[in-house]
């Protein structure tokens, strides 16, 4: 009986000791995770580390939840590092992605299908696809009805980026007509005109 009581007391003390150091462990985990996750962004690393520490010190109610929070951050950091190991090229690519997103393949195919095979400029006969070495190549350029960049032709500040790259804002033009349409900012070719071309052609 005495041995049993002894074991219980020791176990309780041990658990108490564990939970006493658990906030400290959680904070160490959070700092480590911030360093790993935001290795490329020192400013955000410092911000997140302090932010997470404040959760552990001020917000999380129990020692167990503090420990869980720290461990979950540690897991996220490990996953982040693993991903970086597996695909360094992919993350580098994402980092250096061009400011202007290129239209997705599905969008392009839809445009080609609906263009009736020609430049969207009324009466232009420039073909949409030409055959080079036995393969079809896109002969037209993707033009934005409202510019994607600030201050471009027909730029509409009230538009969302999502809509700027959407199908409804894209037409296909041959090189000459693309230049003509985008020549100057007070373009003679208004968004309304281009939208009419689009709806007339696509039906």
């Amino acid at each position: 009986v005495i041995i049993e009581i002894g074991i219980t007391v020791v176990a309780t003390l041990l658990v108490n000791e564990m939970t006493d150091i658990s906030p400290w462990i959680a904070i160490e985990f959070a700092r480590w995770a911030a360093k790993r996750i935001y290795a490329n962004d020192k400013k955000r690393m410092a911000r997140r580390a302090e932010d997470w520490e404040s959760h552990i010190r001020n917000s999380l109610p129990t020692n167990l939840s503090k420990l869980c929070f720290g461990l979950s951050l540690g897991c996220a950091a490990t996953a982040c590092m693993a991903l970086r190991q597996v695909s360094p090229a992919r993350s580098a690519l994402r980092k250096a992605s061009p400011v202007r997103p290129t239209p997705r393949k599905a969008l392009l195919m839809a445009l080609v299908m609906l263009s009736q095979g020609r430049c969207y400029w009324p009466d232009c006969v420039e073909p949409c696809l030409v055959t080079v070495d036995g393969a079809s190549v896109l002969n037209l350029q993707v033009a934005h009805i409202c510019a994607i960049g600030t201050g471009g032709p027909r730029y509409d500040p009230s538009m969302l980026d999502l809509d700027r790259t959407a199908f409804s804002n894209l037409i296909l033009l041959c090189a000459a007509h693309h230049v003509a349409v985008d020549r100057d900012l007070q373009s003679r070719y208004s968004a309304t005109t281009l939208r009419k071309w689009k709806s007339d052609r696509e039906g």
Binding site: R47, W52, S54, R57, N58, L73, L160, D161
Partner: protein, 131 residues
């Protein structure tokens, strides 16, 4: 300004919580977002990273009285373009959530502690109003 590339369920949860706070004219810190959305810490911060990258969320440090050396909290809120995008995305993907934001009582995330908290709040309200 690159937009948000992929819209995930977690991101919509996060946007709903942020928009809710915006409509109540409140700021939320990361722990508040975790409680409101019921998401884990890493998910909330992954979402915040993306929203900050897209320049839709502003962050502000808590102002501390001098002599207080506990770590500061960071508060997050949607900026003007963030509000527009959040409205648009929620209207598209979660039309049933949008009218509830800013009006209904905060929906506690599932969890026993949450249930206790709301019970306690109700109790405190009852005591406060003299019932």
């Amino acid at each position: 300004m690159p937009g948000i590339e992929r819209v995930t369920r977690q991101l919509l949860d996060l946007l709903a919580a942020l928009l809710d706070a915006h409509l109540r004219n409140q700021e939320v810190h990361g722990y508040g977002l975790m409680k409101r959305t019921g998401l884990s810490g890493p998910s909330v911060y992954r979402g915040l990273d993306r929203l900050e990258d897209a320049d839709l969320v502003d962050a502000r440090w808590e102002e501390m009285p001098p002599g207080d050396d506990r770590p500061r909290r960071c508060y997050y809120r949607l900026n003007s373009s963030g509000v527009v995008i959040a409205h648009k995305l929620l209207a598209e993907r979660r039309p049933e959530v949008l009218p509830r934001l800013g009006h209904a009582p905060l929906q506690p995330a599932p969890g026993l502690r949450m249930a206790f908290n709301s019970l306690f709040r109700r109790f405190a309200f009852a005591v406060g109003s003299g019932v």
